[in-house]
C-alpha cells in the first residue's frame, strides 16, 4: 500500500488522536496535570536534555495539547506545531525566536487591531521594531527590507474588512530578502486557505476564533512549515547557535525540518510561560472536528448577508471579497475558492451614528469583541478594537468611523437577514 493522503475532514477528526492505551478511551482524555512522573533518573535527564520524547511539565508540553498540535500541523500541511495560551502569545513566541533587540520585522498594515497595538507598543520595549507595509502594494514590502529585517508578518484574510492578501507575491519578497514569511491564518482557517501551500514558512492562529469555533476557549498556535533554512547567513542564533540553556545543543542541526517548532517550545514557551490549559486544548480539539461543516455554513451565510446588505438602501458599501463586485474578489477566487470567510465590514449612509444605532437595535447579533463564533457577532471597530489608532491609521487599516464589522455565525441565514432588516429600519 502506498501512502494515501487523507482528506481534510478525515484529518480534522483523526489527526494526532488515537484511543488511549491505558483506558481505551476513544475521545482524547483531558490530562489535567501539571507534571509527569519520570521512569528513573536517567529518563529524567534524557527528557531535560531533549534526548528523549516525552512529558515533563505542562508548561512545556501536555498529551492533550500535543493532539491539538499534531492535528493543526496536519491540517495546515506543516511539520510540527506548538499550542500556546492565545493568538497574541503565539506572536510573541514566534518573534522571540527570530528577533534580537534592535532587529526589525515588516508587518502588513491591515491587521487585527490588537496585533497593531502589540507590534507598535509592547514589542518596542523588547527592542523589536516594526516596519509597516501596505498589502495592496507589494513593492511597499520590498522597500521596507533592511539588513536588520528578520521576518514578514501578514494575515491571509485580513481583519477587520476581510480583505484577501496576495500571499504568493509577499512570499516571493520574503524569499528574496532571506527571511521567513509568517502568516496569521485565523480568519481563513486551513479549511479555506493553507498558507504553506502558497509559500508561508510559519503559520500562526488565534484558536479562539473559527478553529475552536464556539466562543468558549482562548488559545493560539504556531505551525512550522519546515521550509526555512535557519543556518543560512547565521541570522537566527536561537536556531543555529549552540544554546547555553541546553548545554550547547544547536536546534536546527538536532531537529531538522521541525526545528522552529522545537525552538518555540523549548526556548520560547518554556522560558516565557504562556502555556495553554489542557482543558482549553480539549475544547478546541472538539471544535475542530466540525470545522469543515461549520466553515461551509459560515461562508454560505456570510455571502447571503453580504448580498442582502449590498442591496439595502441604508448601506453605503459592503467589503466582502466573496461578492463579485468586490476589489478582492479575484484574490478570493484564487486563494479561498471554497468561500471568502465570514468576517467583513460595511458602512452606513448615516455614518457613525447610524452604526451605533444599528448595533443597539440588533437582537440576534451579539455586540462583543470576538469573531469566529457559532453565534453572529457585531462590533464597531473605530470605537473598540481599533480605537487606539489615530483617524488616518483607522482608515488605512479598514476601520473608518462609519464602518461596522460582522462575524457571521451558523444560525439560519433568513433569521440573520431579518434581524439586520429590522435593525436598519428602526
Amino acid at each position: 500500500m502506498t501512502d494515501r493522503l487523507p482528506g481534510f475532514s478525515t484529518l480534522a477528526v483523526h489527526a494526532g488522536a488515537q484511543p488511549d492505551p491505558t483506558t481505551g478511551a476513544r475521545v482524547t482524555p483531558i490530562y489535567q496535570t501539571t507534571s509527569f512522573v519520570f521512569n528513573d533518573a536517567d529518563h529524567a535527564a534524557s527528557l531535560f536534555g531533549l534526548q528523549a520524547f516525552g512529558n515533563i511539565y505542562t508548561r512545556i508540553g501536555n498529551p492533550t495539547t500535543a493532539v491539538l498540535e499534531e492535528r493543526i500541523a496536519a491540517l495546515e500541511g506543516g511539520t510540527a506545531a506548538l499550542a500556546v495560551a492565545s493568538g497574541h502569545a503565539a506572536q510573541v513566541v514566534v518573534l522571540q525566536q527570530l528577533l534580537m533587540p534592535g532587529d526589525e520585522f515588516i508587518a502588513a498594515r491591515k491587521l487585527y487591531g490588537g496585533s497593531i497595538n502589540q507590534f507598535t507598543h509592547a514589542f518596542k520595549s523588547f527592542g523589536w521594531n516594526v516596519a509597516w507595509a501596505d498589502p495592496d502594494d507589494i513593492a511597499s514590502f520590498e522597500r521596507a527590507v533592511t539588513p536588520r529585517t528578520k521576518g514578514i508578518f501578514i494575515e491571509s484574510i485580513a481583519n477587520p474588512a476581510g480583505s484577501i492578501t496576495d500571499i504568493e507575491a509577499i512570499a516571493e519578497v520574503a524569499r528574496k530578502a532571506g527571511v521567513p514569511l509568517i502568516v496569521d491564518n485565523t480568519l481563513a482557517t486551513p479549511y479555506l486557505i493553507r498558507p504553506i501551500d502558497h509559500g508561508a514558512d510559519i503559520v500562526v492562529h488565534s484558536l479562539t476564533k473559527f478553529l475552536g469555533g464556539h466562543g468558549n476557549s482562548l488559545g493560539g498556535i504556531i505551525v512550522d512549515a519546515g521550509t526555512f533554512d535557519w543556518s543560512k547567513d547565521n541570522k537566527y542564533p536561537m536556531l543555529n547557535e549552540p544554546r547555553p540553556e541546553y548545554h550547547g545543543i544547536r536546534i536546527q542541526e538536532t531537529f531538522g525540518n521541525f526545528a522552529f517548532a522545537i525552538a518555540c517550545r523549548v526556548l520560547g514557551l518554556r522560558d516565557l510561560g504562556p502555556a495553554l490549559s489542557p482543558f482549553n486544548a480539549f475544547m478546541i480539539l472538539t471544535g475542530i472536528e466540525t470545522l469543515p461543516l461549520r466553515m461551509q455554513k459560515h461562508c454560505e451565510n456570510a455571502k447571503a448577508v453580504a448580498e442582502f446588505l449590498a442591496g439595502h438602501p441604508a448601506v453605503a458599501s459592503v467589503n466582502y471579497s466573496g461578492l463579485a463586485s468586490d476589489k478582492y474578489n479575484k484574490l478570493a477566487r484564487k486563494y479561498a475558492p471554497k468561500g471568502a470567510g465570514a468576517v467583513f465590514t460595511f458602512s452606513l449612509r448615516g455614518g457613525y451614528d447610524a452604526g451605533v444605532s444599528l448595533v443597539s437595535n440588533l437582537q440576534l447579533f451579539s455586540h462583543l469583541a470576538n469573531v469566529g463564533d457559532t453565534r453572529s457577532l457585531v462590533i464597531h471597530p473605530a470605537s473598540t478594537t481599533h480605537s487606539q489608532l489615530d483617524d488616518e491609521a483607522k482608515v488605512r487599516s479598514g476601520a473608518a468611523p462609519d464602518v461596522v464589522r460582522l462575524s457571521i455565525g451558523i444560525e439560519d441565514k433568513e433569521d440573520l437577514i431579518a434581524d439586520l432588516e429590522q435593525a436598519l429600519s428602526v
Binding site: M1, T2, D3, P6, T10, L11, H14, A15, G16, Q18, P19, D20, P21, T22, G24, S46, G49, L50, Q51, A52, F53, G54, N55, G61, P63, T65, A66, V67, E69, E70, A73, A74, G78, T79, A80, A81, L82, A83, Y246, H247, G248, I249, E253, T254, F255, G256, F258, A261, I262, R265
Partner: protein, 194 residues
C-alpha cells in the same frame, strides 16, 4: 529511487528489518545529535555499534568504540553515517568491502551524496539520505507526537497496553493493613456467633 521524498513504507521496512546498526561518527559528547540518536536506537532494542577512530578504548553507553567498519568483526545490517556529505564516499566504499555487506546505508539529517548512494544501490543496498533514524522511528511509531510533530500517520486502534505480558509490580505502598476496618469488624462478628 527518489531520494527527495521517501515513501513511509520504505522507511518502515528498513526500521522493522534491521537489527544491528553501526553508527559512523558516533560521539560520546551527550549534546551531540549522534549521541541522542545512538541512545534512542539502543533503547528501542537495536544492537548499536559506535564507530569512531578518535574514541577507541572508550565505550558509548556500554558499547566499545571501534575504529572502522572492518573492526566490527561480525555482520552488521545498517551503517548510519553521522558525517558531512563530503566524507560519505569513503565510508560507503569501506562498507561495500565487508562480507557480508550491510543491507542499508543511512546518511544522517543534512548529509547527502548521490554518487555514493548510486554506488551502494548498484551493489543491492538500500539507501536513505538526509534523514534521522531516531526522528523517523519516533514519527512512524507516533512517539514523536509528544512534541507536537506531525507524524503523518493515523490510527483508530488502541495502542498496546504497556503492561501486557509483563509482571506487574506488587511493591505498592500499603495503607493501614489489608482490608478496611469495617470489613475486619464484619469478619470478626461473623466468626464470633452471638
Amino acid at each position: 529511487m527518489n531520494h527527495d521524498n521517501y515513501d513511509d513504507n520504505y522507511i518502515r521496512s528498513i526500521l522493522n528489518g534491521v537489527k544491528s546498526i553501526a553508527m559512523v561518527g558516533a560521539s560520546p559528547v551527550n549534546v551531540r545529535p549522534s549521541y541522542f540518536a545512538f541512545k534512542y536506537l539502543a533503547q528501542r532494542g537495536y544492537d548499536m555499534i559506535p564507530v569512531n577512530p578518535g574514541h577507541v578504548g572508550k565505550s558509548l553507553l556500554g558499547k566499545p568504540f571501534v575504529a572502522s567498519l572492518w573492526d566490527i568483526g561480525r555482520p552488521v545490517d545498517m551503517i548510519d553515517i553521522f558525517r558531512n556529505s563530503s566524507h560519505i564516499m569513503p565510508v560507503v566504499d569501506e562498507a561495500l568491502t565487508l562480507s557480508p555487506p550491510p543491507k542499508v546505508i543511512w546518511m544522517q539529517l543534512g548529509a547527502r551524496d548521490d554518487a555514493a548512494a548510486e554506488k551502494a544501490e548498484a551493489a543491492g543496498l538500500k539507501v536513505v539520505m538526509n534523514r534521522c533514524p531516531k526522528i523517523e522511528y519516533g514519527r512512524l511509531s507516533s512517539e514523536i507526537s509528544w512534541m507536537g510533530v506531525n507524524s503523518r500517520t493515523l490510527s483508530s486502534k488502541r495502542a498496546p497496553i504497556p503492561t501486557q505480558g509483563m509482571r506487574l509490580s506488587l511493591n505498592r505502598m500499603s495503607v493501614g493493613g489489608g482490608a478496611t476496618a469495617a470489613s475486619d469488624r464484619a469478619a470478626k462478628n461473623k466468626s464470633e456467633p452471638t
